[in-house]
């Protein structure tokens, strides 16, 4: 008899616990609601009830730091050059147009300008040409380009900031070997971008799979059109692969390095390539690229540049 009771009790435990949990949740909600109600009422009363008697003076504001103190400054880093590179005097800094400086360690120099970290805060949603991000990114790019007119510059990623000159020297010391090797590699070259894009007006009109897009099309006709669309797609992929091969084979003689930045056969950007081109080969490179321009049916070739060798530099294994 007592064994049966025990057994029944044990069997009931999960249900009871589940029910208790439900009840506890309900009560917690109710209690939280009460607390919130109190808080809201308190706020409402505080705002609604007029203050009687003489107004209390506002509490004095306590400043840990005097207000006129400048926030701590740091150094924005643009790129690495050899120490004896003669920079133009008039390269403007990206934040305030002030002068660009250098921190030198042995045979290398880091191009820097003073910056307050809050000056680098940007709104990623504002991609207009007059936006903060555009101004800063153009400033970074302009400084690297201006210096590159005098000799090789290893561009750092936009937004690189070090605390002070000691940190700048530490950067040069830690990455010196890699920087020297890359400065030799990129000397006398510039980066050019070449994209293979699908021409939008050549996109064939397709019958979609949604019923609204199939009005007036018989089942057989629909299937036939779908099959054609699939075939066209497969052809396009083959064409894209062939175009990519032709593109690289044609341009390779004029470049020292080539890498694929992106693109995929299924998208409108089929191929996004970057080339490192020696200055003396630029004319031939551009002529070859222009000649390719209209050679692919359904595809266009877009050239951009010249760029500092952004896509061809990296420091250490932390590189993305």
């Amino acid at each position: 008899m007592s064994d049966d009771l025990d057994r029944m009790a044990r069997a009931a435990v999960p249900d009871v616990l589940a029910a208790a949990l439900d009840r506890a949740r309900e009560q917690a909600v109710v209690r939280l609601a009460d607390l919130l109600t109190d808080a809201i009422v308190e706020q409402a009363l505080a705002g609604a009830v007029p203050v009687s008697g003489p107004e209390e003076p506002p509490p004095e504001r306590v400043h840990l730091v005097p207000e006129d103190d400048e926030p701590p400054e740091a150094l924005y880093a643009y790129g690495i050059t050899v120490a004896d590179l003669q920079l133009p005097d008039d390269i403007p800094a990206l934040t305030d147009g002030g002068p660009l400086g250098r921190v030198v360690l042995d045979d290398l120099a880091l191009m820097v300008s003073r910056v307050r970290p809050d000056e680098l805060r940007v709104d990623e949603d504002d991609l207009s040409e007059s936006g903060r991000l555009a101004t800063l990114a153009r400033g970074h790019d302009a400084a690297v380009r201006a210096a590159a007119g005098s000799g090789p510059v290893l561009p750092l990623r936009f937004g690189t900031v070090v605390a002070d000159e000691a940190a700048a020297r530490r950067l040069l010391r830690e990455h010196g070997a890699s920087a020297r090797e890359q400065l030799r590699r990129i000397a006398g070259t510039r980066e050019w971008g070449v994209k293979l894009v699908r021409r939008l007006d050549d996109e064939p009109a397709q019958v979609g799979s949604r019923p609204s897009e199939r009005r007036g099309v018989t089942g057989t006709e629909y299937l036939a059109r779908r099959r054609q669309a699939l075939e066209r797609h497969e052809n396009a992929e083959t064409t894209a692969e062939r175009a990519a091969d032709v593109l690289q084979e044609t341009l390779r003689p004029h470049v020292t390095e080539c890498l694929r930045r992106g693109g995929s056969p299924g998208s409108s950007l089929l191929l996004d390539l970057a080339f490192l081109v020696p200055l003396e080969d630029e004319t031939a490179f551009l002529a070859a690229a222009a000649e390719l321009g209209d050679g692919f049916e359904g595809f266009g070739v877009e050239v951009s540049g010249p760029w500092p060798p952004y896509s061809f530099v990296s420091l250490g294994d932390g590189d993305a």
Binding site: R157, P306, Y310, S311
Partner: protein
């Protein structure tokens, strides 16, 4: 050709902002965090999303032109 090559003097005025950001924000030598104090206040995920939307809007504009 949408992207005119810049003049050979190396001016960036002819380049689109999207292409510029694609290079300066995503490329360029990255220096690991123990030397740098910050990498600007950029939310890369947010920026990528915005760049994507801009690209989509651009190609939609081309279709309707």
């Amino acid at each position: 050709m949408r992207e005119r090559p810049g003049i050979l003097g190396g001016d960036a005025r002819g380049t689109s902002l999207v292409e510029l950001l694609d290079r300066v924000v995503h490329r360029g030598a990255y220096v690991s965090g123990d030397v740098t104090i910050c990498l600007a206040g950029i939310d890369l995920v947010r920026l990528d999303l915005r760049l994507l939307l801009t690209a989509v809007a651009d190609s939609a504009g081309e279709v309707h032109r």
